[in-house]
């Protein structure tokens, strides 16, 4: 039962990804061509409001539903990891026209071929685990 809330938030996420056309390959292409404000407006407004959320968490004005303080685990540091990993991710994002969230939402839309992309992404995560000690971080 404790997982139902995550399922419901996931449904909200899936609907907004689809209804705002974030799962459209074309919207990603258009973004990287700087031909529309749409995606920048979405990410920009989400981050702006996100900053306010973070402020509320850090000032302890909002706690979890169980009353615990909200601790935000920091991301791992490392110039090579973030920059090179980011570039590789960006190449894939612009080719697939989908980052991991939208990939799963596209299953719900009935796009069979996205399963190949998701298989590739899972394989990519596996290959990272396999080679991670041999690449710079």
């Amino acid at each position: 039962m404790k997982y139902i809330k995550f399922f419901l938030v996931g449904i909200l996420f899936g609907i907004v990804m689809s209804k705002a056309e974030i799962i459209s390959w074309y919207r990603i292409y258009e973004m990287f061509k700087f031909q529309s404000f749409h995606m920048y407006g979405i990410i920009g407004s989400a981050v702006f409001l996100g900053m306010i959320s973070m402020f509320l968490f850090k000032k302890k004005m909002v706690k979890t539903f169980e009353g615990n303080e909200i601790h935000i685990a920091p991301k791992k540091k490392g110039l090579y990891r973030n920059l090179l990993g980011g570039i590789l991710f960006g190449l894939g994002w612009a080719l697939a026209g989908a980052c991991p969230g939208p990939m799963f939402v596209l299953i719900g839309k009935g796009v069979v071929s996205i399963l190949v992309v998701i298989f590739g992404a899972t394989l990519g995560a596996f290959l990272y685990g396999l080679f991670k000690d041999k690449i710079p971080h």
């Binding site: 809330k5 938030v9 209804k19 990287f32 900053m51 540091k77 990993g85 980011g86």
Partner: protein, 185 residues
């Protein structure tokens, strides 16, 4: 209902995504989709080959449930909330895509030249889908996050690693869009 069934503007979508992030924190978790890819590897038995995947994946069950919800949401939106599949693109985008061999841009959400079943079943088409996925999966785990974890949560939290990663996302995306895509189709 028209408010719901027409495409949602950025100033509706951005705040809702922020609410998604807020709710996950409120429920004690950090928004981030790409870590599910590692969880899938662990469930699939990758821990037998690589120690990195020897984790207690059950602690990530919430995130898999979130993904199941996202798939469901995609279904709900596609079948009940979207009478039209047309994406109102910038006419210049449509022209640019026609110039590189992708026709009827915006008639549906996805180009047939990449996502149709016929394309998927061709050698080149399958390879493009697979390699795109591998780059996303490898890159996201190398960088330690994807658009949700880095661009939304990380930037909101003013984290330098996320800023560097997002700059990387854009370098890669621009190279693919401007230099590589014109050569593929």
């Amino acid at each position: 209902m028209e408010f719901i069934t027409q495409p949602w503007a950025w100033y509706i979508a951005g705040p809702i995504i922020s609410v998604v992030m807020f709710l996950l924190f409120y429920f004690g978790e950090r928004f981030g989709v790409s870590s599910n890819l590692e969880t899938l590897c662990s469930i699939g038995g990758a821990g037998k080959f690589v120690d990195y995947f020897k984790i207690d994946w059950k602690q990530n069950t919430w995130n898999l449930v979130f993904v199941a919800g996202a798939i469901t949401g995609g279904f709900v939106a596609a079948y009940w909330l979207s009478p039209s599949d047309v994406v109102a693109l910038n006419p210049q985008t449509v022209q640019d895509l026609a110039d590189i061999g992708i026709m009827n841009a915006g008639a549906t959400y996805l180009p047939d030249e990449i996502f149709s079943v016929d394309t998927m079943l061709s050698f080149k088409g399958f390879f493009i889908l697979l390699i795109a996925g591998i780059m996303v999966g490898f890159g996201a785990r190398w960088a330690g996050g994807c658009t949700s974890g880095h661009a939304i949560v990380g930037l909101s939290n003013l984290e330098i690693p996320s800023l560097i990663s997002v700059i990387g996302f854009f370098i890669g995306g621009l190279v693919m869009t401007w230099l590589i895509l014109p050569l593929i189709f």
